[in-house]
């Protein structure tokens, strides 16, 4: 059975919302580096940070992060 892969749509959703990394970081009260490293797949956030980002963007969590087979 293939390992599930994490699909990340943070950058797409952020740019669609017309936000810069800094603006999203300010809304979510995280550092810009956190947003940048998540978008570039350097860092996988915890559920808390993921939910915070989803809330800051006004979308459900599974729009930002999704597991596919």
């Amino acid at each position: 059975m293939a390992e599930p892969t994490l699909v990340l749509r943070l950058k797409e959703v952020r740019t669609a919302a017309g936000l810069t990394q800094q603006e999203l970081a300010d809304r979510a009260r995280v550092s810009r580096k956190t947003v940048n490293t998540i978008e570039n797949r350097i860092f996988t956030p915890s559920v808390v940070v993921a939910l915070t980002l989803a809330k800051a963007l006004g979308v459900p969590l599974d729009v930002l992060f999704e597991l596919t087979d």
Binding site: V30, S31, R32, K33, N36, T37, E39, S46
Partner: protein, 231 residues
């Protein structure tokens, strides 16, 4: 209780800054009084015990004023940052990463002294200065590693308490620790082999192991932080 709005926090910070002006004034009065006391005591050498007691109290007051001034300065910076809209987290993280590299690089100097001192102590020709050098060679690695092992981040404010580090900082520190552990094992193996050849080399090489651990951790942490800044 609801979270205070940004405007309420700014209003409170302004009020605190106003009260701090009064506290600065009181501290200045204390300094003036201590200085006057010392001058008066110096002009009355005939009552030596009384003069010494007066100078002692004046010095105690001055010491307390310095401690209180540092505390006040830290609070002032914190309030100024609240008024400015809060500190820039990215800058705080970057300055901490650069500071760690600086401290670890400074540790190379301490290490050089520590190796020489360790060799002399192991050769039983060391004096008290060598003992101090050998012990102080642990200082910089100690500071760097305690920061990397911590889950707090220091702000740039004087005397301000460290704040909980965010997830990314902790993630970077864990990566830095993994690299540091690898470097420690390599350095330890080298010192162990050298110690088999000559026992004194094991003692003299110990500061190198600590410095290798600290420098690797600091450089890796700085590199990850730098990589996170781009893109």
């Amino acid at each position: 209780m609801g979270r205070a709005t940004a405007e309420e926090m700014k209003s409170r910070a302004r009020a605190r800054l106003g009260r701090q002006r009064l506290e600065w004034g009181l501290l200045a009065c204390l300094v003036l009084a201590a200085v006057i006391l010392m001058v008066v005591a110096a002009r009355a050498p005939e009552a030596a015990l009384l003069s010494m007691t007066a100078v002692f109290f004046a010095l105690v007051v001055l010491g307390l004023v310095v401690v209180m001034a540092f505390d006040l300065w830290g609070k002032r910076q914190a309030d100024l940052e609240v008024l400015a809209g809060g500190p820039d987290r990215d800058q705080v993280q970057s300055s901490e990463a650069f500071g760690l590299v600086f401290l670890a690089a400074l540790g190379l100097l301490y290490m050089a002294f520590g190796v020489g001192a360790g060799w002399r102590i192991a050769s039983e020709t060391g004096d008290l200065d060598d003992w101090w050098s050998a012990i102080f060679s642990l200082a910089m690695p100690g500071v760097v590693m305690s920061t990397v092992l911590s889950d707090k981040i220091r702000t740039r404010q004087a005397c301000a308490l460290p704040k909980p580090a965010d997830e990314l900082v902790i993630h970077f520190r864990r990566h830095a620790l993994v690299w540091s552990f690898r470097a420690t094992l390599v350095a330890l193996a080298a010192v162990y082999v050298a110690g088999l050849y000559d026992g004194r080399l094991a003692v003299a090489g110990a500061p190198i192991v600590f410095e290798a651990a600290a420098l690797t951790a600091a450089l890796r942490y700085w590199w990850l932080d730098r990589a996170a800044s781009h893109g």
